[in-house]
Every structure is written in C-alpha cells, then in structure tokens.
C-alpha cells in the first residue's frame, strides 16, 4: 500500500481491498467509512481466484488527508489483507451497465445505431422498450448512458467499477540482479 494519497479524479478515490472471504467483513469495511461520514459511491465485491479472499473495489469521494487515515485504519482491520489505491491513469477499469430504454418502432433504429457504435449488446426486446448492456470503462459507460437518456431511460443498473493495475510494458533488464 502506498502512503501517498491515491487517485483523485473528480474528487473520488478508488481503493482495491483484498479481504478474507468471511462473514461480516464487508460490514467492518463499510463501518469504517460510515463512522467518518464518507459516502461510498460504488462498491463491487467478488471472490478472487483464491477462494479464501474477496476483492472489494470501492470508489469514495473524499479529500486526500482523511483518506490516508481511512486507508491506514482499513489496513488495521484483521480481515483486510492488502489495499491498493488505484490511479485511473495507471489502471484498467471496467464497469457493466444494463439499461432498458423506451424504443417504439420509430426510434428503435436510432438506438440500435448507438448500440452498434458502442458495441453494446441487445439483451431483450419488448413492444416499445429495448434492454441493452454495455461493458467498458466507466467514462464510456457514462457516455452511452448520456446518449440514451433523451430517448427515455426506463431503468438502469450499473455494477460499479472493478479495476486492475496496468501491466509493465518495458522489457525487464536481463542484466538486473
């Protein structure tokens, strides 16, 4: 875990927290934020390849100084194994959105155009509605949602983002020890 305050785009910070996969762990983590009055903007939880652990991807909107303290307090939780503060520039972020849009026969074609452009997927079609999904970077998902909004969004569900650090591009020095 780096001690420098983490990524801050639009006043949000992304923390990737590896925790033991045990009952009550999420409550401990969430409690630390709640106690300080920090709102969690999005939260994704899933098991990792090692079934003993889960990974939480938490997006919070806070200042850097209290964030450093929260990260240190999180690190003190016995069930928290490690924490990464992810800088968007140095990580790959993905989010899934499912959205139902109003789409009577007149405008369905326009919506399908957007679906094609964004490489989204049609999941379900109704008499005057259409359900599509898109996986992509959070900002791409935002764009797609913004473009669909004028047609009338009936219901939208986003997963919250998950993220992994970007991989090293340069060849490692073969002479390095």
């Amino acid at each position: 875990m780096s001690s420098a305050p983490g990524s801050e785009v639009g006043g949000t910070t992304t923390l990737v927290v590896r925790v033991e996969n045990k009952a009550g762990v999420l409550a401990r983590v969430a409690g630390l934020f709640a106690r300080r009055g920090f709102n969690i903007e999005s939260l994704a939880v899933a098991p990792t390849d090692d079934e003993r652990f889960s990974r939480l991807t938490i997006v919070v909107g806070v200042d850097a100084a209290p964030m450093e303290q929260v990260v240190k307090q999180l690190d003190k939780l016995v069930n928290v194994v490690d924490i990464q503060e992810l800088n968007p520039a140095a990580s790959v972020e993905r989010e899934l959105m499912m959205v139902t849009v109003r789409a009577d026969s007149e405008i369905r074609g326009q919506i399908l155009d957007l679906v094609r452009i964004f490489q989204a997927t049609v999941l379900n079609v109704g008499y005057d509605e259409i359900m599509v999904s898109l996986t992509g970077s959070p900002s791409r998902v935002d764009d797609f949602e913004d473009l669909l909004r004028p047609y009338g969004i009936v219901e939208v569900q986003r997963t919250g983002k998950v993220a992994l650090p970007k991989l090293v591009k340069s060849t490692p020095d073969p002479l390095a020890p």
Partner: protein, 579 residues
Amino acid sequence: MKMNGGQALMKALENEGVDILFGLPGGAILPVYDPLIDSSIRHVLVRHEQGAGHMAEGYAHATGRPGVAMVTSGPAATNIVTPLCDAYMDSIPMVVVTGQVPYAAIGTDAFQECDTTGITMSVTKHNYLVTEAADIPQVIHDAFYIATTGRPGPVLVDIPKDIVDPNNPRSAMEWYTPDSHDLPGYLPNIAGDAELIRQAAKLICEAERPVLYTGGGILKSRGAEALLELAEMTGIHVVTTLMNRGGFPDDHPLCLGMPGMHGNYTAVTAMQEADLLIALGARFDDRVTGKVGEFAPLAKVIHVDIDSAELGKVRRPDVAIQGDCRVVTEELVKALKEMGGSDAQPDRNQWRSRISGWQERFPLTYEQSKGDELLKPQYVLEQLRDSTPDDTIVASGVGQHQMWTSQYWKFNHPYTWVNSGGLGTMGFAIPAAIGAKAGRPDRMVWAVDGDGCFQMTAQELVTAATEGFPIKVALINNAYLGMVRQWQEMFYEERYSEVYLTRDVPDYKMWAEALGCVGLKVESPEEVGPAIAQANEINDQPVVVEFRCEAEENVFPMVPAGMSNSDVVVDPSQRDRPR
C-alpha cells in the same frame, strides 16, 4: 480427545495461561459455567458486568498479561461495552467471552439476543462470532494473539449456546491444540526501519531544545528501561503522559511529569518551546496538544508508534518510525552510541536552566485548609503518597481527583498507575483496583475515587469483600461532580447546573460497612495520617476512607479546552510571575 464446546473453551483458556476470569453467568453462557467448576482457572463473581470488564483491564494494566472476562448474552454483553471501549482507547490487552443465543435463533429477536459483534465492532480490535464448536480452540488462540501483539487491544468472542451445550449435538468436537495462526491480514511489525532510526538519531544530536514526549506505548512495549537509558545517555528531559505515568521515574531529575490540560507548567511549556519532540508511543491526544495548530510550533517531530495509523494522524512527523517502542528505542540508543553517545550531544545548558527556572517559578501548589475548612484533596494525596510503599499500585476514577492523583503521586515504578485515559470512564477505579490486586496480590493497591465515580461502581466492593481482594479506597468527597463544577465555574459564569451531589447522602462509612468493608471518615488534617496508617494495617478486608474535602478546590494548571498550550492558566498564587 472428544469433548464438547464448553469444555474446549475452558481448556483453550487454560492453554493461553489464563489464571483468573472475571464474570457473571446467565442463560446463554450457562453451559460454560459447568466445566468451569473443574477448571484450574479461578473465577471472580462480579456484581455488574461493567465491573468484570474493568477488573480485566486493571489486571492487564498491573501485569501486562491479558485480562479475561466472561459474561452472558444480551444485557450482559451491552453492560460490558463500556470497558471494551475503554480498553480499546487505552490499548489494553483483554479478551471478553460473551454468550449468545443458539446459532439457529440468531436474528429472530430471541430472548436476550443482541447483535453483540455488531455493537462492539467499533470498540474492539477484533471480534468473532463462533459458529462451530470445532472453531473454538483456534479462535481463542487467535483472540489472545491479536489482543496481545501489535498495538494491544480488546478482542471479543461471541459464542452461541448450542455449540457449548453438551445436550446439543452441535457441541460435539474433537480437541486439537492450535500451533499457528492463519491471519493473512494481521502481521504486526516490530522492528523500526534502520535508516529512519539513524535519521532520528541525527536530529537528536542536532537539537538544542529536545523533549522526550512519552506515552502509553512505552509501558505497553515494556520499554521503561530502554527509555531510561535513552534519556540518561542524551540528558534529554522526559514528559510522561497520563498513560505513561510510571514509565519514567518521577523522582528522576530529567522527569518533567505529566503534560497536557492539567499537566505541570514545565512539562507543558517545555513542549511548547522545544525544537524537537521525540514522541515515543504517544498519540498527540487533544488533551495533550491543546489547540493542535499552536502545539509545539517550533518543534520538529520524531514519532515512533507500532500503529502506523498514529503516524501523521494529528501532527505530520519529520521522521515517522513504525515499530515497537522498546525495540525502536533500543535501536535508537545504539545508533546514538555509534554517533558518539553523550559526547555527541550539544551543549544544552541554556535550555536546562530555562527548564529549571520554570520548575522553580511554577511548581504544583495549593493552599492548606485553614480553621474549620474541610480537607484539601491535594493534601490528602500527598499524605497518601508519603505513607504508602513506593511500589503501591494506584487506580483512579475520572475527574478532579484523577488529575490530582496523577499530579501529586510519585510514580517511580512502571505498572503502578491504573487509569482510564482515553475514554475517561467514571467508575473505573474500584473494579480496576480489584483487577490489579488480583494480578498483583503482593502489592498494596489503593483506589483514589471521586464521590460521583464511587456511586457508579461501588457495588464491586462486595466482590472485593467476598472474593478476598483487600483493596483500599481513598474517597475524595467534595460533594460535587467536581470536574464539571470547575468547568461551570470557569467557563459558564459560575452557573452551576446539576453538579451538586450532596455532602452527606449517602453515608459512605455506613455504605462501606454494608458492602463488607471497613469504613472510615476523615474531616481534619490531623486525622489524615492516622486514618491512612489504620487502613494500611487492614489486610483481610477492603477499606474505604472517606476524606471530606473542600468543594471549591480547582485543578491547576489548566489549559482551557480548545486553547493553545501557551495560554496555560496557572494557580492564582502564581499568576503575576514572569513566564
């Protein structure tokens, strides 16, 4: 070996070296109280579960070993929340076992069910809800490990009734002795970074006005000897926070005593004027710093703490070293020796003479009572200090009497001061003194208590009387919630609101006798010494000595809340002296 969960719990506690358990039984924990009969562990039956928690804390304060309490579910669990929070704030190693309704009944609002792990999540270092009997040995082993390592703290283990009830098949298990911990998220770091320690040593060698600001981490890490060596080698003065009284001898010429809101003028001022603060296991608490932005404005800071979250929490250190206070202090001594030891320290004569000037002009002071005035509490404490053995253990409540005790006592040995610092829990003294006596039966144990505090936990004197813990209580009866009265006098224009307790109700002597203690009542200065001598002679019963004290006495010096430490208010008799 086949056994049930209740037997496994007792065996697990025995394996952790537990010799005494403070508790009170009830429905959910009942099955564990049966194998207790056959256990080597002594159980002390308390009169209120808060008492059990504070006794466990007192035991831990005095011995350094984890205190253990066991209570039932629901109201008993909520009764022990205050001691858990107290132990959490003061980093006291403690393990609390609570009963819980049967696993299948959890979440059904069963009789005496409460969400104990939920309620205590933020006041424990860690807690467990055990769901299988087979987990008991490992969980208990882990609980003690977590409570006693790293930054110590309380751990709670909540045990549903069915997994300890021999009549329930869910309690059947095979005993095993755990020999390791599977705690991938818990790796306490002991050693400090060598390069940072060298940097700290360099800062020390350059400092003209350094002060060692030492906190509870010194006592927790058993680092008093290392601190003594560091101070003597460098000749640097030491302030001991409320949590480190006794961690450096008060009689030592380098000791400046307690800093903070009611600290010694010299301790407060030396920190304000310092060019280097060497903070060892101290946490820049608001009661020490006063207005943070104006605290020690000229000082660089070296901060050593085992808990990295303390480093930079309040004040940005120039050198931050995460590690055990004793280990890091020892390493610091080595690094300083390599740089030349005492010879490498600059000439600090000017600083020393400023310090002794403050000490001469602003000693602790009070006016002796005149005529038919009641006693001065400071006088009582001086007398008590001077008529008890040097290694007497002193526990205190919270209020004026606590500050006077810390100010006037001479703490010359580690682990002789048992006190509620961070939470400031009224009612702490009596049960904590009992716990201390249980841990150190060889020592004389005095509780200094306020009349307000006494009324919160006096029932535990029954525990002391019946279980054979002959503690002594110096009851400072000033007829008021004195500390609050003082604030109302100073900051609310003497508008006294709900602070008068009455002078004669209850009759403390009679109450003490009813609780199974010897009760004494002292009103005049001549009676103080003889009453203490009489109390010191009694070793088969607890004693309560009521000292009837002046109500109007205030604690000085005082840094009013939110003010800068530079604005410390001294005793009225010292106010026109040059600072």
